[in-house]
Every structure is written in C-alpha cells, then in structure tokens.
C-alpha cells in the first residue's frame, strides 16, 4: 500500500537556524498538508497546498514558515529561523482529492528538536 514518507525522522537544530523538513506524498495525490504536535498537546493544522500554492494556512503558519513542492515528488516545510517553541513532531499528509470527506494519509512524522 502506498505511504507518505518523511525525512529525517529526527532533526536537532540550534535556535535561529533554518531547517527543511521533507515529505514524499502518495504519488497520485494532489493535496498536501502539514500538521504539528507539540509534546503533550494536540495535533494542529499548519497549512494545506494544492497546485503549487497555499490553499489555507493557520495562524501558526507565520512568515518564518514556507512550503514548496520543488519537484514532482517532494513537498517541503521550511522554518527560516527556528525558535525553541518550534520543537514538535511535524506530520505531512496528502489526499487524492480536495474535499472535506476525502481521507488524508499521514506520514510517520519528523521530530524537530530546537536547542
């Protein structure tokens, strides 16, 4: 069964550094998402992406965040200047169609630790 993959599984960085989290969505999916889960808190929506542009973003997704689909397979989340509070598990997801009823398939997550 096709799966969403994410790399790296764990990223450790110093505060103020830039990080890029990578995701390979399921190949025939067209809609992509990033969520994050700070330790002990809920999974939170960050951003959705379709047709090379952001469809929707949350208030968390401020100017330090950006997303990109640099080629036909990867979907990346960049955090320009990391803060301690960015430490979290970041999940990528993809869905075949747009529609609130369509299933989002999640990757295993990248654990980001900002020191």
């Amino acid at each position: 069964e096709p799966e969403v993959t994410q790399t790296p599984s764990h990223q450790v960085t110093q505060m103020g550094q830039e990080v890029i989290l990578r995701c390979v969505p399921i190949s025939n999916h067209l809609y992509f998402y990033w969520y994050r889960q700070i330790l002990g808190q809920k999974v939170e929506f960050l951003v959705s992406f379709y047709n090379n542009e952001i469809s929707e973003k949350s208030e968390i997704f401020d100017d330090q965040f950006s997303v990109e689909r640099p080629d036909g397979s990867n979907f990346t989340l960049k955090i320009r200047s990391t803060k301690l509070e960015d430490s979290a598990m970041y999940f990528c997801a993809s869905s075949e169609r747009q529609g609130a009823t369509d299933t989002q398939y999640f990757g295993p997550g990248t654990r980001l630790t900002v020191l």
Binding site: Y31, Y35, A100, T101, F106, P108
Partner: protein, 114 residues
C-alpha cells in the same frame, strides 16, 4: 471555531475487554468525523470515518463508531480488544466551510495488557 475533546487521556485494560473512547466536538453545522490510530513507532492511520448515512460506522480491525448528532459525539468502540490494539487514538473533525483541515482531539493512549 470548532474544537474536539477526548475525555480519556489514558486507558488501561486487559485483553478481551470492551473498549469505548469518547469524542465530542463543538460545531453546529454538518461535520465529517474521523478516528485515526497511531501504533507505537508508526504513522497515523485512518480507522474509520463518517460523512453521512448510517450513523453507525464500521472500520478496520473490528472498530466501530457511532455518530450521535444530538450529543455532538462520535465514540469509538471495540467489543473485545487485543494486545495489538495498544496505540494512541485520535478523533478528528472537519467541515466543508473550514476546508480540508482536520481539527484533532488530544488523543487517548490505550494500553492493552496481555
């Protein structure tokens, strides 16, 4: 804004016991409801989902959930759990007006003792 509450943070039970996990949401309109499961070291997987029709939804691995609109609830059940059901379970909601984004509950960690 919509929100989702899961009443139990941790549940411990023995094999063959019945499981029921509570989920309540706050949104007055039409919603779509999901239960995801995350087994240790694995990614979030969809257990089941409800969009419309029969409010009793059957999912994978013997799980089912019942949508009770009047109670804004979507509780997950399994009549007889196995050790392999040890996982974290997440209820999630979205609705058309809010696009595709899922709003998650806080999750319930379930430990099934052999």
């Amino acid at each position: 804004a919509q929100s989702v509450s899961q009443h139990n943070h941790h549940v411990i039970l023995s094999e063959a016991a019945s499981l029921e996990l509570g989920c309540n949401y706050s949104y007055g309109g039409t919603v779509n409801l999901f239960w995801y499961v995350q087994y240790p070291g694995q990614h979030l997987q969809l257990l089941l989902k409800y969009f419309s029709g029969d409010p009793l939804v059957k999912g994978i691995k013997g799980f089912e959930a019942e949508f009770i609109k009047s109670k804004f609830s979507f509780n997950l059940r399994k009549p007889s759990v196995q050790w392999s059901d040890t996982a974290e379970y997440f209820c999630a909601v979205n609705h058309k007006a809010a696009g595709n984004k899922l709003t998650f509950g806080g999750g319930t960690r379930v430990l099934v003792k052999p």
